[in-house]
Symmetry: C2
Subunit: 338 residues, 2 copies
DNA sequence: ACTCGTCTTTGAATCGTTTCATTTGTTACG
DNA sequence: CGTAACAAATGAAACGATTCAAAGACGAGT
């Protein structure tokens, strides 16, 4: 078993100094053609591969950016992550993705981990209250960008989408269809969800006889959505809401599964349904799902850009970018009012 | 800006030797209660965080496992990845996920990257021919486990699902419905897809008057599926297949979108449709999608287990685990034959 | 022949940990 | 009181790369 060769082995083999080998790798222009060739030949023969740990140790920083999301299984986040990865790649960095699963302790765990790794910076969709930790990170030279969450601009940068506006758009759309008794499904303990709810309530308050009830889904997955859907089916028709706004598409698809499975409730005739995020699967649902589209690629790309800005300014200048969501109407909210 | 404290700073602050601080962190039993407390207090006061690069450098190996998948956007892979992460966590390791996007050069890029990181081991769903590289990795003490791909057991371990059987199951099911002119949609240049096709062809060959045509989708996403669907819609009804088997659910959902959009083709009456993977969204499709279910959690978990076995045996013992897929019938292939 | 400037190459110092052979301290026992 | 046995603490040596001041090589100009 041939152990991995070090830069020293290469130097010996090529009969040059270690510094020269390092220069071949990092500053090829400083090295003469002849020695460069000899060194490269030795590298190939010995199968030398740089040891990143040693390089990082010397550099004091890694080429890694940490990203903590609420749920990688959610296409919204995987799309943001992919965009961030692509953007980071152009800077020669790698994105490490951690899934907090909306759990503050897992979130803390990943923050510790990333700190041990001396990441260049941190992108995070926070669950718990991370303000304190972000401050200490900044003090230690690790810039942070909040993702999908608005920040104090004197603390760190952020990139987000106007959730309240999105919630308003969704509810307004349902009200425009003539629906009056609305239901909101989600986990309001999550800030984004709370904001969407707030926007929805604002829209409702603008219409005299409209109401909105809140159904806590205790989770943001297809499965929890199905549970809420079942509880709706069990209600008497009069007690059912006329329209349901789910705080994300997974929930909405779950609700849709329950409602259509039993066939007693029609979408959109009996209940109009709208989700949030406009994931790829929304369009191919049983009843194509209306949704609020968020610019995921822009979010991921901008997050990396803001991180770069933070790095350049030494963590002193912060900026918040807020995108505007967009209503996408499909069959689940189609049809004439009343 | 307080720079990060090192173990040496902690030692000075607590008035002990660096070795003692290290022992507090790694072998608490070797240290007396009194000094332990003093050291821990200093650690807290200085906000000391271990430098992972230095630790790895000394250890010669990281606590990281590399995983290269064909497409993180595909729920099949994100599910496998999540299971692998959970399993790795119990061993105190972290999984780094790289997305090859079915591109051999990106695959090679991630292999280089992981090698530089001195990962404990590598899990990979290969695109190109990686046999050679796996050999050199093994020689250097980096065990590899093929994921979703059967391996030479004298080269490395592997965990996979019997794709040919899955393909057979799918085609057999379509034939059992009475359909005779089948179509297969996928990218046969990918091995898994080729095997599924082979299985399907075997099933077809067992029925005298059955045929199967192959439609190369040039990609395995919803989008490419939609393109194939459009081409089917453009055909005259007589030329259309009676049943379509897509090599994954994303493709199938794309095909379904096209077919249902135009409303000229009914599923399953005119064309029965079956996918592969049974992703969460299959059940909530316009027409709930039949599929072939693969045990994703078991795949991810077993991959980590096999990697652990490889490590223990020093990369000498290899084992291949093959799971059996399962047919899931839903509405997209329901209904009476003929 | 000598000096100056440019281009290469050298090799020791450094990053922050872990390891381990030694030293120091403490207790128990003959 | 001497010493053996054990526990605790020490600190120098690695790990493998990068950096940088210094040395070396070489040609041009005087």
């Amino acid at each position: 078993m041939s152990q991995t060769a070090s830069i020293k082995d290469v130097a010996t083999h090529a009969q040059v100094a270690v510094g020269t080998v390092s220069n071949v790798l990092n500053y090829p222009d400083r090295v003469s053609q002849r020695t460069k060739e000899r060194v490269l030949k030795s590298i190939a023969e010995l199968g030398f591969v740089r040891n990143d740990a040693a390089r990082q140790l010397r550099a004091g920083q890694s080429r890694t950016i940490g990203l903590i999301v609420l749920d990688v299984g959610n296409p919204f986040f995987s799309s943001v992550a992919r965009a961030a990865e692509d953007a980071a790649a152009t800077l020669g960095s790698v994105v490490l993705v951690g899934d907090s699963g909306q759990d503050a302790s897992r979130e803390a765990h990943y923050m510790d981990l990333f700190q041990e790794q001396r990441v260049q910076g941190l992108l995070i969709s926070p669950v718990g209250d991370v303000g304190q930790r972000i401050d200490t990170l900044r003090e230690r030279g690790v810039p942070t960008v909040l993702v999908d969450e608005l920040a104090d601009t004197d603390r760190c940068s952020s990139v987000s989408v106007d959730d309240e506006e999105g919630g308003y758009l969704a509810a307004k759309h349902l009200l425009d269809l003539g629906r009056r008794r609305l239901a909101f499904v989600g986990t309001p303990s999550i800030r984004q969800v709370a904001s969407r709810l707030k926007g929805a309530q604002r829209a409702v308050s603008e219409v005299s006889d409209a109401t909105i009830e809140v159904l806590d889904s205790e989770g943001q997955t297809v499965l929890t959505g199905r549970k809420v859907g079942n509880s709706l089916v069990e209600r008497s028709p009069q007690e059912r809401p006329e329209a349901v706004f789910c705080s994300n598409d997974l929930l909405a698809l779950g609700v849709m599964q329950s409602l259509t499975m039993l066939r007693t409730v029609r979408i959109p005739e009996d209940i109009a349904l709208i989700g949030y995020d406009d994931i790829d699967f929304a369009i191919s649902a049983v009843v194509p799902l209306s949704s609020i589209r968020q610019p995921t690629e822009a979010l991921g790309r901008t997050a990396i850009e803001l991180l770069a800005e933070e790095q350049e300014s030494g963590g002193t200048k912060h900026r918040s970018v807020v995108f505007t969501p967009e209503l996408v109407v499909r069959q689940s909210t189609a049809g004439a009012p009343n």
